[in-house]
Amino acid sequence: MSSESSANVLGHFGPYGGRFVPEALISALDELEAAHLSAQKDPLFQAELAHLHKTYTGRPSIITEVPRFAEHAGGVRILLKREDLNHTGSHKINNVLGQALLTKRMGKKRIIAETGAGQHGVASATAAALMGLDCVVYMGEEDTRRQALNVARMKLLGAEVIPVTQGSRTLKDAINEAMRDWVTNVDTTHYLLGTVAGPHPFPTMVRDFHRIIGVEARAQVLELTGKLPDVILACVGGGSNAIGIFHPFIDDAGVRLIGLEAGGSGVLTGLHAATITGGSPGVLHGTRSYVLQDANGQTVESHSISAGLDYPGVGPEHAYLHDIGRAEYRAITDDEAMEAFSLLCKTEGIIPAIETAHALAGAMKVGKELAAEGKGDAVLLINLSGRGDKDVQTAADYFGIQL
């Protein structure tokens, strides 16, 4: 197959992607697409971004092998790509720095962003502070309560945080409100969308800024093991960290790509955020992909212990990779994720984000499956997309730890 899973000129991945937005936004999306394409070919832009990644983000992120954790995954070999060690604590900074540079390139002075758990909001506030941009972050009122620490971080960084009281008061509604702001202020404002969803060019552009994860990992794993990994695993909410590590391996047919969705209380209970596993094709937030929706096409609320995966949509490229069979998508329940979370803490001294714990739980299952098939020497690469500092309260509540 061709790596062109890549989008066509209208931003389509097979039947997915595209643009389903108010006409008012088309000129801004065209401007953004042009800026992205020219920046990709501009060695000065690339050098500036690479310099920032080296001196600010802390790239390349390292690979850590975790043999004690791997004992609980059928004894396979497990490598972690440590995006949790990036500045601001997750992969989100890769995209944010790229888009903030594009904002300056377009001559805009204000960025707006949505955030669920607060990681993308914090990363956006960070980039805005670094580059002298005004920053407004929309966050569901429910999430501002669940993630009060990140709200404080954003404010310390100089951003304005606007609690969204519409609808379900979570990430979905924060995106709606950010899009309304953008429709109104598009001349001066860039919408710094935090995942590989939304209208074209966002799914392609955000992926391109995260590909560095997979590009680095490919070279690192080759150097360490002398071959490509057998399986790559990543958690999928919108899907930005997953596409970032998957994409440079799409042409390598021997490498299994597995996305782990948030199964919440279990997909059969209806209380989940496993959009590909439990949803159906539809349109949400400007793109066609899989959506959690009812019989009338109304978006259904998602449920997950992980605020960062608690989203009823998913990036269109993942929908396409699923349909053509290039990537597999599985659901991990809250309980399975928390078991893996605890295990990585206690076997390796690494506290992962609860989002990331879904990928760890997936690796435990897949490792055991491979061992049972006599492939106990397999190498599994996991994108350790974020650290768990922000999740201490949630984890303490879950495990009954008194704070």
């Binding site: 209208l10 595209g18 643009r19 389903f20 937005v21 108010p22 006409e23 008012a24 936004l25 088309i26 000129s27 801004a28 065209d30 519409q166 609808g167 979905k172 709606n176 899009m179 309304r180 429709v183 109104t184 202020n185 598009v186 001349d187 539809g282 349109v283 949400l284 937030h285 400007g286 066609r288 959506v291 929706q293 019989a295 009338n296 096409g297 109304q298 978006t299």
Partner: protein, 266 residues
């Protein structure tokens, strides 16, 4: 699609030298039966055509007033069949009517089936605020087969290159968004509205209606001086939301419709 009741209305009003007054309300607001009462009150007051909203969970083009109305309707369980029944009750009054809907409810219902059901309910067409012309192939086929109007929104930011491509896809009328923003009442009609309408007219002979932010007789009169239609939604809905009783709300809707209807005479 010059044969729809909506297209015929614009042709007739052109001879009367006045603009069409188009009233918007979401189906199921304030209730399914109450919505039809609101529509009757609008028509009693002098509204020429009705735009029925399909309430949607993620209405990014709508401001707080219509969002609240749509939420209320969705909480009561409004479905596609409720929308079509409301449409049928409206067209039974002899009033041209269209549905305004975000795209996903059409896709979920079935694109061809949606156009057919709309036609069966006597509807003239559909306003699609988040359907870009690039994504319109299936809808164009379905709407053409059903002989209904496709009404796209054009914005002040729509480029000169793009504008004729969008208006060429429109029938019934072209929906000109008066400003960069979401639905809601404004104290003044945006200054860009008039020049946008002029730009649209250079590309098409299809009638042009202006929406977003029109709420008073004076604003309606101003818009009617250069456009073929004036669309008012949030101003009606706010009257119902703020009324102490349903009767008072309907009376206020009737009064506003009458005032606006005077305004649209040139």
């Amino acid at each position: 699609m010059n044969s729809t009741p909506l297209a015929q209305l614009f042709a007739k009003l052109k001879l009367e030298n006045r603009a069409a007054l188009i009233g918007y309300v979401p189906a199921g607001f304030p209730s399914k039966a109450g919505c039809i009462e609101v529509i009757k009150a609008m028509v009693d007051g002098g509204v020429d055509a009705i735009e029925i909203g399909f309430p949607y969970s993620d209405p990014v083009m709508d401001g707080p007033i219509i969002q609240a109305a749509a939420d209320q309707s969705l909480k009561a369980g409004t479905s596609a069949s409720d929308v079509f029944e409301t449409l049928a009750a409206t067209t039974a009054l002899g009033v041209p009517a269209v549905v305004m809907t975000y795209w996903n409810p059409i896709e979920k219902y079935g694109v061809a089936k949606f156009a057919q059901s709309l036609k069966a309910a006597g509807g003239s067409g559909v306003v699609t605020p988040d359907l870009t012309i690039e994504e319109s192939a299936a809808w164009a086929n379905a709407a053409n087969s059903a002989a209904i109007n496709r009404i796209y929104v054009v914005a002040p930011s729509t480029s000169p290159d793009r504008l004729p491509k969008v208006t060429a896809q429109c029938s019934g009328f072209v929906y000109a968004a008066s400003l960069m923003g979401v639905t809601g009442t404004r104290t003044a009609v945006a200054s860009g509205a008039k020049s946008l309408v002029q730009r649209i007219r250079e590309t098409t002979s299809t009638p042009v209606a202006v929406g977003l932010g029109v709420s008073t007789q004076e604003q309606a009169h101003e818009v009617a001086s250069y456009a073929d239609g004036v669309i008012v939604g949030s101003a009606f809905i706010r009257l119902i939301q703020e009324a102490p009783s349903a009767e008072v709300g309907l009376q206020k809707v009737r009064e506003l419709a009458a005032a606006l209807a005077l305004g649209v005479h040139r």
